[in-house]
């Protein structure tokens, strides 16, 4: 479903990704780990088309489509979802209004009719309960005054409503206490099926105790330097990254 081939990308003139290759099949969960500055967050931002992230060479196909030919919002409507590390606030725009507009945009793209406000409300309430967010949050401004944990749960709720084909979780575990981490992981696990794929970007092995990956990749100096299964994550936890970084140079 996702093929990344020899991807080279720059941020502010500095080359961050140096020929990255990765293939993800439907239903797989891939964890990306690595030291600070390895390019982990850059990968998610490049795939979703964030401004300031310049693709130098390489190509990425998503469900057979060249991702780099699509606008940011088109990639989203195609089913590429990024759960942000630091979700921003949009004051005065209710979560409900924002979510309905998002879901409608995706449904329209898929040739489905818009949901009625009533049906959408019902769906949104159910999703909010799944991530243990009080439905009152739906009426508040997008992320407005939310705690760090509430923001992350809000991200997962959006992911549930949008039903994307590819979910990229960018350090979703950062700043979460253990309870919130479990809620988030349960939300993600509930969404796992034979079609949906995940890229889980994280610093720590801890998250992978709850979201068990099919593959673990280590990113260093803008490349994948080692791939393995969940045992690799444990090895990294014990030995750190430096031994792999040396190998990659």
């Amino acid at each position: 479903m996702l093929e990344i081939h020899e991807l080279v990308a720059k941020v502010e003139g500095k080359q961050i990704l140096n020929g990255l290759n990765l293939t993800i099949k439907p239903g797989e969960v891939h964890a990306i780990m690595g030291p600070n500055g390895a390019g982990k967050s850059t990968l998610g931002n490049v795939l979703t088309g964030r401004a300031g992230y310049e693709v130098v060479s390489g190509d990425v196909t998503f469900n057979g489509k060249n991702l780099f030919e699509l606008e940011v919002e088109e990639r989203a409507r195609e089913g590429v979802f990024l759960a942000f590390q630091y979700p921003v606030e949009i004051p005065g725009v209710s979560n409900m209004e924002f979510l309905k507009a998002s879901v409608d945009a995706r449904r329209k793209h898929l040739g489905l009719p818009e949901l009625s406000s009533f049906d959408f409300m019902k769906l949104a309430r159910e999703s909010s309960q799944k991530v243990s967010l009080d439905p009152a949050f739906l009426k508040r401004g997008v992320n407005e005054g939310f705690s760090g944990g509430e923001k992350k749960r809000n991200e997962i709720m959006q992911m549930m409503l949008l039903e994307p084909g590819l979910c990229i979780l960018d350090e979703t575990d950062s700043g979460l206490d253990i309870d919130a981490l479990q809620v988030v992981a349960a939300g993600v696990n509930a969404m796992r099926d034979n079609h949906r794929s995940f890229i889980v970007v994280t610093h720590y092995q801890r998250l992978l105790d709850y979201i068990v990956p099919d593959y673990v990749h280590v990113l260093a100096n803008g490349k994948i330097v080692r791939s393995g299964d969940k045992e690799l994550a444990k090895e990294l936890e014990a030995k750190g990254y430096s031994w792999l970084e040396k190998e990659s140079v």
Binding site: T48, R50, A51, G52, E71, V72, E73, A76, R77, F81, L82, F84, P87, V88, I90, P91, G92, V93, S94, E97, F98, A101, S102, A105, R106, H109, G141, V142, Q158, L162
Partner: protein, 478 residues
């Protein structure tokens, strides 16, 4: 970001057409004869002419104010025509059937149906075209409950006692340069009187249109809400697109007697000039209300038009327990400039005022909030809450806040909050990553920013205001 944001702010001004209507337009120039001519056209009584002349003589000795944070070339007041009326208005039409079909077509093009049966249910309308009121709908129906809603030129002849008593009582002739000019040459506008204890059965509204070239519009509105009455009044304004600047200097006076409530809403969409800053209306307006005992005056404005705006709808809280409110959204784009805000003058005991001002700047525009809260020694227990928020779109615009607080009574409680924020790349990216296109995203963010003000507008106006913002912002993101 700026590049992306920049290109979202460019859409054509939809009300910018000119109607080919034959007009009698006074040659440009301004002297006592101009004032006499206007007064004669309106068949005014002697006392009104004297009042105008007094204002004109005062104006001659006054200087144009320069303290506002706006810049424009000096206005040559002698090059403006001070009176223009559609020819067909010579013998005022007695009913809509006699109104020039071109005029009716003009308003239909603007989306304003003049025919009563087609008019928005529950809204009575006075329509001012250049210098004259062309039609007032539902006049008879309102008369049944004692409400007077008519052109001010009619009121001067038909209700001289009310006009004499209240005109100039809130905004005196010599109040300021533009108010004095307006007092001398005002041509038309609306007059409203709500009798004691009456709740006006429908929304009243006035629609202002400047059509002729080189014409200034100087309308004057006077609203009197007698004891215990209620009224909600709306005004809207548009003008054709022209390369020349045109002057609009209005005066609005509100009188809310004991226990009365006046809600005054404005959607101002005068032609703002083109994307290079050419043309547009100079909107120099004086609006003020006086609230007697337990009365409430509420100003709500959505200002998206005009090249230069200079406007401070104010409340004099004269009576004990009276309440003043000001809710404002001012959006500037391209080269527009706005210096707008309010004055809350607390005189009575336990008077309360609320100010919520939202400024949005895009393109190379500048928007300033200027507000005065004054608590006089007599205003025991007065309270004020002020919140002004500025939102910047792109990085070539400016937002400024000039709050003035003067308090002479130690029991006063005054709160002031101010914020400045930007439509950030991150907000835009979040919206786009969730499948929304950039234009939808910006309009959603801006609408969210204005929410507290929009909820104060009457229903139909709130919808119109939201759409207007969307149009005014078009092209600000790409």
């Amino acid at each position: 970001m700026s590049e992306q944001v920049e290109s979202l702010i460019r859409k054509e001004y939809a009300a910018g057409f000119h109607s080919a209507i034959e007009s009698d337009t006074l040659a440009p120039g301004l002297d006592e004869d101009t004032v006499r001519f206007i007064s004669a056209q309106k068949q005014e009584p002697e006392w009104m002419l004297d009042w105008r002349l007094k204002a004109f003589r005062a104006w001659r000795d006054m200087a144009e104010p320069t303290w506002a944070h706006v810049h424009y070339p000096e206005i040559d007041f002698k090059s403006i025509s001070y009176y223009s009326a559609p020819k067909s208005m010579k013998d005022r039409p007695k009913s809509l059937d006699e109104v020039d079909p071109e005029l009716i077509a003009t308003y239909e093009k603007l989306g304003i149906p003049l025919h009563e049966q087609a008019a928005l249910a529950g809204v009575a309308m006075d329509v001012v075209f250049d210098s004259v009121s062309v039609v007032t709908t539902f006049r008879e129906k309102l008369r049944e409950v004692g409400v007077i809603f008519c052109p001010i030129s009619d009121a001067i002849r038909e209700y001289p006692e009310l006009v004499k008593k209240y005109m100039g009582s809130v905004v005196p002739q010599k109040d300021n340069f533009y108010a004095a000019l307006n007092s001398a040459v005002f041509s038309d506008g609306s007059f409203v009187y709500i009798p004691k204890g009456v709740r006006c059965p429908m929304e009243l509204s006035t629609y202002f249109r400047i059509n002729e070239l080189n014409t200034g519009q100087f309308e004057r509105t006077l609203i009197i809400a007698d004891e215990g009455s209620h009224v909600s009044y709306l005004e809207g304004c548009t003008a054709p697109m022209r390369d020349e600047n045109q002057l609009h200097a209005a005066v609005v006076e509100l009188v809310a007697l004991d226990d009365a409530q006046i809600k005054y809403s404005t959607v101002q969409n005068w032609y703002p000039g083109d994307k290079d800053g050419k043309g547009g209306i100079y909107n120099f307006v004086t609006k003020r209300g006086v609230a007697h005992k337990n009365a409430r005056i509420s100003w709500t404005q959505v200002e998206t038009g005009s090249a230069v705006t200079w406007k401070y709808p104010s409340c004099i809280l004269k009576g004990d327990n009276s309440v003043g409110e000001f809710y404002s959204v001012a959006l500037t784009n391209n080269f527009q400039q706005a210096d707008t805000g309010t004055k809350m003058i607390h005189l009575g005991k336990n008077t309360r005022s609320t100010i919520v001002a939202k400024g949005i700047s895009a393109g190379r525009s500048n928007s300033a909030y200027r507000g005065l809260v004054r608590i006089n020694p007599t205003a025991e227990g007065a309270r004020n809450y002020t919140q002004c928020d500025s939102l910047l779109i792109g990085d070539r615009c400016g937002a400024h806040t000039f709050p003035y607080i003067e308090t002479k009574n130690a029991s006063a409680v005054i709160e002031h909050e101010a914020t400045t924020s930007k439509v950030s790349d991150d907000q835009l990216f979040l919206c786009q990553q969730r499948g929304l296109d950039a234009e939808k995203a910006v309009s959603m963010i801006v609408n969210g920013f204005c929410r507290e003000v929009f909820k104060e507008l009457p229903m139909e106006f709130a919808v119109e205001a939201g759409k207007l913002l969307e149009v005014s912002l078009e092209g600000s993101v790409g």
